[in-house]
């Protein structure tokens, strides 16, 4: 082989490699394009209206004379809906992930996995349609009953567990003879009290009339379900990544499976679980169709602020809904304010992403991988 052809070959390889690099960077640098184009249309808004009103006022009258662009209530709506989704998705998702990685046998896992995949695959507009057409009327007509059933489903197992543990711990203080009796009496007493409390709560919830089915609760539940697959699969990966040695060590010390998981596995994989939570948050914040269709779109902070039964409005829904009516050509603040919102969303997801990357990297160092 002559030196000439070999040089040609090397040159060709270099060329090919740079071409590959070019395409790769082109596709990855899209994210900067996006930043640039959103920021380009967002800056005029801040020039026109300044920062203060946008972030601190909650009077949103984009068509008023003069127009007011206080987006605090909209930020709040995004926040509370996301928070609600996290409350739904994280406990459920993490326990499901633990169950998948450490409890269920392999063949059961193979059956459960598709459930998660299907939940992840259902398009957001289908979730939105469900929220609007099925869930909202249900909440509005039988809201109290739905709330009561929900509370029972969540609280009953937890309370039952709590009763058993508390009575057991208390019974331990008594002498051997008494212990058994005390335990049973306590279980009965505490169980009765818990049951009475549950019934009272159920009655109270049952009497609540939900005025509007399109509200923060509806959206939070649906968003929580949508975020579930992300939380489950990412935290399951994290739990699996902790490896067998830790678990075996813990078992060897006589710990039960629950103790192993709670005291060893979860602390070791906490960063991965955090990353899962962050990804779940990002999924909920960025979702458009469900909130647009079923959140009620009222640009105000509910009273009291934690009242999830009131309609709220989010950033994504505002962008989707207002874009059509804002007059694009004339460069009005009403058009640019939507890009300002998009920029906020973008900045937030960017920061969250960096945080989750940071957490993962940090933990990798800690685990010495």
């Amino acid at each position: 082989m002559s030196a000439n052809t070999s040089r040609l070959k090397r040159f060709g390889a270099l060329l090919g490699q740079s071409l590959l690099f070019l395409v790769t960077s082109l596709s990855t640098l899209t994210v900067f394009f996006i930043f640039y184009f959103i920021a380009r249309d967002a800056v005029p808004f801040f020039k026109l209206e300044g920062f203060r009103e946008f972030f601190t006022s909650s009077s949103w009258y984009p068509t008023g004379h003069p127009a007011e662009f206080g987006a605090r209530a909209i930020f709040f709506g995004t926040g509370i809906v996301t928070l609600g989704a996290v409350v739904v998705a994280v406990p459920l998702g993490v326990s499901a992930a633990v169950c998948l990685s450490d409890v269920l046998p392999f063949n059961v896992r193979q059956v459960v996995k598709p459930v998660i995949e299907i939940l992840a695959a259902i398009p957001s507009v289908a979730y939105g349609f469900f929220a609007l057409v099925v869930f909202a009327p249900l909440l509005q007509n039988k809201g109290g009953a739905v709330l009561a059933i929900g509370a029972w489903l969540i609280l009953a197992p937890v309370l039952a567990l709590l009763v058993v543990v508390v009575s057991d711990l208390t019974a331990d203080r008594f002498s051997d003879l008494m212990r058994h009796k005390v335990r049973w009496i306590l279980i009965l007493l505490l169980g009765g009290a818990a049951l009475a409390g549950m019934i009272a709560l159920g009655r109270h919830l049952n009497s609540i009339e939900i005025i509007s089915g399109a509200n923060a609760l509806n959206v939070a539940v649906i968003l929580g379900i949508m975020a579930l697959p992300t939380v489950v699969s990412v935290s399951e990966d994290a739990l699996q990544a902790t490896g067998r040695e830790l678990r075996e060590g813990s078992y060897a010390l006589g710990a039960t499976r629950a103790e192993t998981i709670l005291k060893t596995v979860i602390p070791a994989s906490i960063s991965g679980i955090l990353a899962a939570v962050i990804l779940g948050i990002m999924r909920a914040i960025g979702e458009t169709m469900v909130v647009w269709m079923a959140s009620g779109n009222a640009a105000r902070i509910p009273e009291p602020w934690y009242n999830m039964l009131e309609p709220v409005r989010t950033l994504t829904a505002t962008i989707a809904g207002d874009m059509g009516e804002a007059d694009h050509v004339t460069g009005s603040a009403r058009f640019h304010v939507l890009f300002a919102m998009a920029l906020c969303l973008l900045a937030f997801s960017f920061i969250m992403n960096l945080v989750s990357e940071g957490i993962v990297r940090h933990s990798r160092k800690k685990l010495g991988k």
């Binding site: 169950c99 459960v112 543990v165 629950a258 998009a342 997801s349």
Partner: protein
Amino acid sequence: MRLETRRLLDRAFSGLGVIAIGVMALALIVILTPIIVKGSGAFVFRSTVEHRKVMFDQWDRGNPQRIEADKAAAAEARQPVYDMLSAFDAELKAMPRKERSLYKKPLRELEKALAELLGPVPGEHTPVLIRQQYGATRWDRAKIKLDELLYTEDWDYSNPDALGVLVKTPRVEQFRGTALEPLFAYIKENISAMMRPRWTFYWQFLFDTSKDSHIFGGIGPEVLGTIYLTLGAMIFAIPMGVIAAIYLCEYSREGRVVSFLRICISTLAGVPSIVFGLFGLAFFLNTIHISNSKSVLAGSLTLSLLILPTVIRASEEAILAVPHSYKEAALSLGSGRWHTVMTVILPAALPGILTGTVISMGRAAGETAPIIFTAAVSVGRPLMPLEALSQPTPALPWNIYNLSTEHEAVDEIRHVQFGMVFTLVALVLLLNLFAIVMRARISKKLRG
């Protein structure tokens, strides 16, 4: 703590996990059941003779002789109704004017209710809108319309300090002692003969164009538009994604540049879908004017950016899953790096890449927010492939939103909305099923 308690806690802990999974499965069932049950109602339902008339008139479907017989039988059953109406007409003419005016409003309301159930009176002026040329096409709607015909609803406000009370009275009360009195009992008795309900499997729902704002017909243009958008997104996303994955796996050395690229990719994955929509509008349409107005092309490009990170990750995973020995064998045989990638690694990774892309295809098919400003319209013809470069299209996700929130007859066309959601979900799940089956085969192959 006692050992027993520890054991109990352990069991309870597992129980909580199982409950969590159970809740998840329950959520899935609760969400899918109404979609599947009511969605299939768009395909399989009891149709009335009016449905068959629509099919025959608008789409030339059905056996003419049988339809004629069907129509004739229905018309025969309906004839007494029209006879009674004309008898009442004669009666009216004979009445003194004052008495006649009393019947004016009730008669108008009755005629309206009748037209909604049976369609316009034969031989009279044909209305322009198709929805008024036919009666109730579905038996379930016909029964609702029948109830509206038989009863009038009034509100009693006699107590001004309290809410009014609904009073439902048989409509026949308004026509006591006239030629119309037997009409209501007759219709109630003979509704089946007049509407001739029959189970129908309307599979053409998937392919038919809609008539009269989705009140009749199917969702053909929407399905086609969704397919165009999805395929278009794949055409752009697959090459870009696979090339990026090859570079990241095979050519790059881990370093600042690569970790920077990776951060970019994961940021791209976290960008909210509505922001992609805004970007598509600001960049593809307003800046580089890829098409005059919204178009399938602009929508596909926007969607391809959205799924690009997923495609890159899936392809990376697939490439990394190719056993190292393959690559080493090829390299040791003296083949170059590029050659190795093209002839050994890519073919081996191809099924894996396909699996990942099929899943992202499902994502592209179901996304709504990115196409609102770039591709989707409410009404449009099914497009030819080349027209897709410059023209917008209806698409399932957007039309689901549009029909369930903006349509003037939202309640009347619930079955169409559910049918659309059902079709979209089925499409996406089929793609996923395909991917799952394929993945199972691959893992078998790689293991075996």
